[in-house]
Symmetry: C2
Subunit: 343 residues, 2 copies
């Protein structure tokens, strides 16, 4: 037991709060309740055991009641996917949307929602192990929950992300991803939006549409393609084997996609995760969806995309403080290996 956890017990918890960094401009969510969840000892925890996993079938009462479930076959009592509120939510439904200013500082109530998508009843299956139609169901659940969550007028952004493996910040091994609905637009997305708006103003063209053209005609960084989507290693990859997936046609919002779009995307995403698994040996990874803010859905200048960030390098460190990344693997080499490791 460390000094911190001893103290924690005698410290009162405060409601979650969003704070804006006046220097960097980004937002931080202070969510003390998360300290009360099963905590990692100093080396990362061992993968959770299927014998005790709260996401495995038969332990449904160990999570809050589900907000969405799919059954397979339809109408049966067997679930194939569940969406549940996080047992240790970082955000709360109650609170005011108005900012509170105190000199240089801005804070807001940490209102919003925090949900977990349990992607499969089988403990050992990760997203990339699922067949295409099952991945499409996960994507459909993301879309359904995003459309529902953004009906709350206080919500400005819904973030879908996945931490896979302890090195990527996962504390449970059972395949899952998370949705966070927040009353602000995250810093990276806000900066992307501004840069894309600027680019559109100067040439009347979506930056991502132009990037897709350049990647397709260049070819060296392409990883895979489907009828409607493209996967490539970004030119300035921050991580070895970083891979982005985008719709080939202009599409600002992921959640506006049709069932056919999701099926096409599912096939490509599954193939990319398979390639990453073959090239890197089932790496830890983060997956983050960048889509439009809830209140700005139909933008000419923005284009949704998925970022897949494998977490293999031990070099993550000073990058947090500088925004400057060192990557030992050229994206052209990563893309070539991933192309070779196809199905």
């Amino acid at each position: 037991v460390t000094g911190v956890s001893i103290r924690r017990e005698v410290t009162e918890t405060s409601p979650p709060e969003l704070r804006r960094d006046p220097v960097a401009g980004g937002w931080v969510l202070l969510a003390e309740e998360r300290m009360l969840r099963p905590r990692a000892p100093d080396p990362p925890p061992p993968p959770s055991d299927a014998a005790t996993c709260p996401f495995c079938p038969g332990r449904e009462t160990r999570t809050p009641p589900e907000v969405l479930a799919y059954h397979d076959p339809p109408g049966s009592s067997c679930w194939s996917l569940r969406v549940v509120p996080n047992l240790y939510p970082a955000l709360r439904a109650e609170g005011a949307a108005e900012p509170r200013i105190e000199g240089l500082y801005e804070r807001r109530d940490g209102i919003g929602a925090h949900e977990v998508i349990i992607e499969s009843p089988r403990h050992e299956q990760d997203l990339g192990d699922l067949p295409g139609p099952r991945i499409a169901r996960v994507l459909a659940a993301v879309r359904e929950r995003m459309l529902d969550l953004r009906r709350d007028p206080r919500i400005e952004y819904v973030l879908w992300f996945k931490n896979r493996g302890a090195a990527a910040g996962a504390t449970l091994d059972h395949g899952h991803s998370q949705l966070i609905a927040i009353p602000i637009v995250p810093g990276s997305v806000r900066e992307e939006l501004e840069r894309c708006r600027e680019h559109f103003r100067s040439g009347n063209r979506c930056l991502f549409c132009e990037m897709i053209d350049q990647e397709q005609s260049d070819g060296r960084r392409l990883v895979a393609a489907s009828g409607r989507h493209l996967a490539f290693a970004p030119f300035a990859s921050r991580f070895p084997y970083e891979t982005w997936i985008l719709p080939r046609g202009h599409a600002p919002s992921f959640e506006a996609g049709s069932d056919d779009d999701l099926e096409d995307l599912a096939g490509l995403l599954g193939g990319v995760l398979l390639r990453l698994g073959r090239s890197l040996g089932r790496p830890a990874y983060n997956l983050v969806l960048h889509t439009t803010p809830c209140r700005e859905p139909g933008l000419d200048y923005y284009h949704w995309h998925l970022e897949i960030l494998p977490r293999r390098t031990p070099l993550a460190g000073f990058e947090w403080g500088s925004g400057f990344h060192i990557n030992p693997t050229r994206p052209e080499d990563a893309a070539r290996h991933l192309r070779e490791d196809g199905p």
Copy 2:
């Protein structure tokens, strides 16, 4: 041996290259040579052994010849600090400063320098274990090398940072920090500069000077103070126990500090590292210096500062992709614990 390292042997290395992300705006250094250094297996490596450590006395020939050394007592043959080029440098001295544009993409030669400051001959001593005058010597070495490195007109920024502990990205246990001299200004610093310039325009006041006033009159986030410097937990702390150290008077460039400034800073920095060690049990941490770009030394609107980022939380993950951080510890609580854990 993974597929990646097998392939690595047959892949030709390319010279280091800087690439700009057209969407996020930040820079990435692709430095393949770093792949050739002793590589971490998938769980982080055990701390390096004093019996084989290349930074320990008697193994000076296992590093490149030093560019700076201090001896203690002066004139003796015993070194107390060495600065050596990194054996696996991420940057090279040769190359052109001009950018190369290719459609949407910008790249530059990875010119610059990468040096290691070996802070003590004693393997087990970290920066925070040194007495104040020895810390002042480390800071003096940083200043001396920064002033020398920025004489190269191609260099735009010199980054001083320290990764302590495997969880913070350190691959060697012997106390050391690093200097990276690069021909661009890192993304986070560029954004800070712009936000500070904006703030100065609107009120004719340095944002950091104003922040110091607000922190001092508020008091809840103060950690410690010396005659010339102040340490506090920033309002929007991204990490538990994140601590910044700033000069109390307006000072844009760290490297313009006098010997007296460095002595004062050394005392405060040592005290803060001691407090962090007591509160968190010798945590892994990153330390990053933010100072002015080499070609913009005397700015009215910028104020150097040290960021100390303890790496305790297992939650680092999706933050990379979103710029949105979740921190389970309120900076007011962290600051209170650190105040209580003083010398």
